[in-house]
Symmetry: C3
Subunit: 432 residues, 3 copies
Amino acid sequence: MTDLPFVATASVGEKMYELVTQLYPICRSITGEGVRQTLRILQAHIPLHIHEVPTDTPVFDWTVPKEWNIRQAWIKDPEGKICVDFQNHSLHVLNYSLPVHQTLPLAELKTHLFTLPDKPDWIPYRTSYYNENWGFCLTHNQLLSLKEGNYEVYIDASLKAGNLTYGEYFLPGETTETVLISCHICHPSLANDNLSGISLAVQLAQWLAQKPRRYSYRFLFIPGTIGSITWLSLHETEAFQTVHGLVATLVGDNGPFTYKKSRRGDATIDCAAAHALKHSGFPYTIINFFPYGYDERQYCSPGFNLPVGCLMRTPHGQYPEYHTSADNLALIKPENLTQSYQVYQTILEILEGNQQYINQNPKCEPQLGKRGLYRAISGDNHTRSYEMAMLWILNFSDGSHTLLDIAERAGLPFAVIHQVALLLETHGLLAK
Amino acid sequence: MTDLPFVATASVGEKMYELVTQLYPICRSITGEGVRQTLRILQAHIPLHIHEVPTDTPVFDWTVPKEWNIRQAWIKDPEGKICVDFQNHSLHVLNYSLPVHQTLPLAELKTHLFTLPDKPDWIPYRTSYYNENWGFCLTHNQLLSLKEGNYEVYIDASLKAGNLTYGEYFLPGETTETVLISCHICHPSLANDNLSGISLAVQLAQWLAQKPRRYSYRFLFIPGTIGSITWLSLHETEAFQTVHGLVATLVGDNGPFTYKKSRRGDATIDCAAAHALKHSGFPYTIINFFPYGYDERQYCSPGFNLPVGCLMRTPHGQYPEYHTSADNLALIKPENLTQSYQVYQTILEILEGNQQYINQNPKCEPQLGKRGLYRAISGDNHTRSYEMAMLWILNFSDGSHTLLDIAERAGLPFAVIHQVALLLETHGLLAK
Amino acid sequence: MTDLPFVATASVGEKMYELVTQLYPICRSITGEGVRQTLRILQAHIPLHIHEVPTDTPVFDWTVPKEWNIRQAWIKDPEGKICVDFQNHSLHVLNYSLPVHQTLPLAELKTHLFTLPDKPDWIPYRTSYYNENWGFCLTHNQLLSLKEGNYEVYIDASLKAGNLTYGEYFLPGETTETVLISCHICHPSLANDNLSGISLAVQLAQWLAQKPRRYSYRFLFIPGTIGSITWLSLHETEAFQTVHGLVATLVGDNGPFTYKKSRRGDATIDCAAAHALKHSGFPYTIINFFPYGYDERQYCSPGFNLPVGCLMRTPHGQYPEYHTSADNLALIKPENLTQSYQVYQTILEILEGNQQYINQNPKCEPQLGKRGLYRAISGDNHTRSYEMAMLWILNFSDGSHTLLDIAERAGLPFAVIHQVALLLETHGLLAK
């Protein structure tokens, strides 16, 4: 039998890819209109709430920075021709550049230019959030083509008191225990490194909105680092309601899956992710928590230590296109997005269904035959798995094993164990 | 040095093989005269008590079934010649067949015939305990030779209120803590799958009866599943006196040993079996508990969770002759039975000898030389092992290690550790 | 980056080798003038205290033996020529030989001669501490050259009431919690097997004497077995102040390092030694505790169970020259001694620096940039390691991880973690 009853069709990936395509040109940063524009587009898909947190708000050891906005930016060559233009690519400007308008010789200009000599056709992605500076990013071949002479540079940007903007979508469930799905929204035209995660979160939210939910779900669309610090600082109570969580990012490339465990290492989310990946048929690796990466750094800081892992494909920094203009729409594929969605969905289904049952006839096996449960489903080629599942569930529903524990021990997919547990519950053989 | 001081000689295996030979022709089932006849034969070897439990007695979620007895059964071909005859092989009749006497055309007859198309010379073993039915089992070649026409079928069987019969042999020891040896007795002419286990249990019981016993021992000769459920249901108090247990089955074939751990996984019986196998020199594998197989399913149901493992050679379903007429006297060998007996015996010797001692001179080593213990046994080529054993025992007899723990840690056979511990106890260096 | 900031230079090994050379000719035993002479030479390097414990003092299950002294010993051949002479090699006499002066035929003499037939050019090292006897050790080729005839043997030794002598050097620290470094001093002219350890202990003591110490340090220079038993028996209170310990021996040969864990197996000394070796770049193996070997046998007896391991190169008995005249000055090398010193030093540095800190901003990461800590050391090519170290330390300084735990988890050398922790403490981000 195939392990995962995947109902998601390729169209899910196509829809996710479409959203990424729509968001791609926007110049996002940790604050500013690019973020607002992005969140407003998401509002067309899910009714998320847009929050504004004023500049200088203290958030733990940090303060909310000034808001940065940019309208245009270019460099004119000695002949007065625009040779680098922000209109062409949002990566061309150093993110958080100060406004500038001056003319300067090439040598001096070069101290403000960033390129990748070993990848001469790609534009690097650079930021300068906390050191005031200005600059341009361009391909190394562009740089090589610049002749001696005076260059006019113009950055029409502003850096002043404003707000940090983030989006939140909360789906209440039967309990206030919350599953957190977090993604960062601060990267400009980069497809895999943040747009794939945003798009996946939107898709999951749409799916969850239309089904009954045991848990509540919180989707956060936040600027990396400062966004999670801000949210955690202003919502400690809600943060501690998080019982499972995932940071969604880098889910569109061709690489195998990588699950980075929560700091706890043995949280239910860690077991659920490992189980879903093992039975997914997709290649994957599981790695231990380490204190850098994405917003799991903050969720897993020792004062929170939330059970939040990070499920991605190729980890940050480990694919050559990372943080360059080559992390574009060609790098990600609808079928990869579909697979990533399927694995996330399976994990959430495990969390939802992972009850702990008690065998109501713990002394010896109950007689399955007289209830029509033994060889009951014999038209079904899953019969043997189902019968084994019954025996495993009955034997280990002893008050100290959840269905996920039993699925792991039995070596059977959670979906089978869950379905069979519901059947046994119907027959009064199990109770919660 | 060889690890195991095996005193059992080949004659043990010959005696076991002889008993199997004697029991082989009998048509056993989960109830009926075949079981009684089997147990009466065993009474010639050990004074076991034969218990009868009436039909319809409630036993947990089950009830004791009607008693089944069979006298004769045959099929006559269109020429009136007997072509399948229960007299020739007890497997020819579907176990628990209803009585029948009728004439019917081949096509209709075939719905009551069971064969193994891929093993055309073997008769399958089939039962229908809980669905009333009748049928015959035959070789596939027999089936192919049947011509069109009307066949007379006759099964002189009865299925009516009676008893479930089982045998029990209890050997009291110094304590009421009991070691359980359980084997199933419900299979008809199958040599490895149940007769080898019965024969091994008898041999162990004879050996234990004639030696001092720290533990009490209970030998159960019961029909599979319903027998253990019946016994557990009617003897809960005794069941919970079980401190170690083994289900004995499949001990005559050529395969390597397989020890299936108790549900607890770390019970003393699990450690003792692993230790005995490791030092036996025989190939083996150790597998985790799973909730199907033999009566360990019931002993290890969560309401009992007894420390009962199952020591076999090739596991059920994993040798081609399993549950066919090829599981016959040619499949099992006296030398295999001898080896199995040796390993069981070693395990029981470990359980009996596995005391916890306290070093009476815990601060620094005692001076072994002045007591004649150092190089004391130098004529013996085991000297070095014995000296190392002394040091290991003295160092780890700290109140939290049993002799088995120490044997494992030292990498020495339990028998050496045990013998040396007794010597140290004699010299006052150890106390219980 | 290289892992270990080794400051020790080759000259350390040269100094150690020089001391070994000076001590090599002396005939040591478990008591007597050889030991006193050895300790007096050590007093030229460190102010150790020489203790005398009278013969017959009861020490746990033992008593202090008679004191043995030897002045000369020889065998004269039938022609009256000295053919075996203690003056030539201290191994020539059976250690603890009784005095003897007699003439006897070759056949009878041979019962008092010890050789190594398979290593015909080496003199064996033999002792007879607790069985009164006399004898000579010689090369097997010497033995073969002896002609028939009468031989005069002379051993000018004494075995009478006296003292057991040992040396102790105690360096007080901030606490009375003590690190124990123990080495045996009872072997005569054997270079690796005991002189290398003595020399290493002296060198470590010199280094520690001149630096601030969190822990107190106790260096014991004692005869093997009876020496540690004597010290433990007479100093139980001090013994139980031992919080970490190492037995130093066999540190001059070419073999890879071998760390034998303490009986506890998970003591801090075990983790520190494993960490130091892992980052040393030297080949090594780590083995579990076993109750024979050197004085760790006594320190780790169950009544003490002190956290004392043994760090050596090739273990005792595992190199061919062990306990023969070939364990001489050619077997050990200054560079090997240097390496061993470096590893010991690193272990002690880990123990000294292994504090547990608490992150003062446990909720989310503190802003390192505003403190100049992020990319602060960018001129330094260790930058990335240092930044990672900051994040690891901050994330895991949660009250349940020491710096060594964090170094292990981060896969970074302790020295880096320690240095960065001090920096973070300076900035108020960590507190003890």
